[in-house]
Point group: C2
Chain length 106, copies 2
DNA sequence: ATATAATACATCGCGTTACGATGTATACCA
DNA sequence: TGGTATACATCGTAACGCGATGTATTATAT
């Protein structure tokens, strides 16, 4: 997948990965893998950005004797996904523009 | 539209704007406007990038006493659009992942 | 027992990119 | 005379993905 295209999907995809239940870094990467692969450095950058933007909240909890940071989606995070749905309509129009073949002249 | 999303569509949209007939800067912006708005500084950056990547070729011609640069799509440019079509299948899968609602438990 | 892989989080630096600001020059219209 | 549209171009800035690298614990294989 083209890297610029990927950029537009990453944030929203991470939010989708924690939408139904709180999750943590390593699990998010594994859950997203079938859809979009991303490195750890990329994910942690994104998580920090989304936290700063109040699209998710963080809670640290112990698991098997070591700490994990669990991420929880907020109202703003949900809204981010809804905004993406609005963008989607425009994207589909653009897709049709890009892929439409030249029509025959008569 | 989210700016990151736009980034993934701009190049391919510019190529689509010159696909059926050669065009020039100002006209490309106007033709793209219904789909994706972009500034002149952005467009000329993109045109230069696509030229460097051999996705289009340039020809200067006089029009009403002043010079215009006409852009023509190349085989590599066509291929770029075809690659986008392939990416589209992945994008649709991601869209479904992002927008699917949590199913009821029982 | 010991090495390797998996889990888990984090930072730094680099290259790519969109875009506002700005500049130059001509044509057209009020 | 001045404003608007046409037409192309460059510079600086900020955002972002990601490879490289680091730290630390747990599980698995040799």
């Amino acid at each position: 997948m083209d890297i610029q295209l990927k950029r537009g999907l990453l944030d929203v995809c991470v939010l989708a990965a924690i939408r139904n239940e709180d999750s943590y870094g390593y699990k998010i990467i594994k859950d997203m893998k079938p859809y979009l692969e991303l490195s750890e450095s990329t994910l942690y950058t994104i998580l920090k950005r989304l936290e700063t933007a109040n699209m998710l909240s963080v809670r640290t909890a112990e698991h098997d004797g070591r700490l994990r940071k669990y991420y929880h989606i907020t109202g703003d995070g949900i809204k981010r996904i809804e905004d993406f749905k609005d963008d989607w309509k425009e994207i589909e129009t653009i897709y049709r523009f890009v892929t439409k073949e030249e029509q025959e002249h008569a």
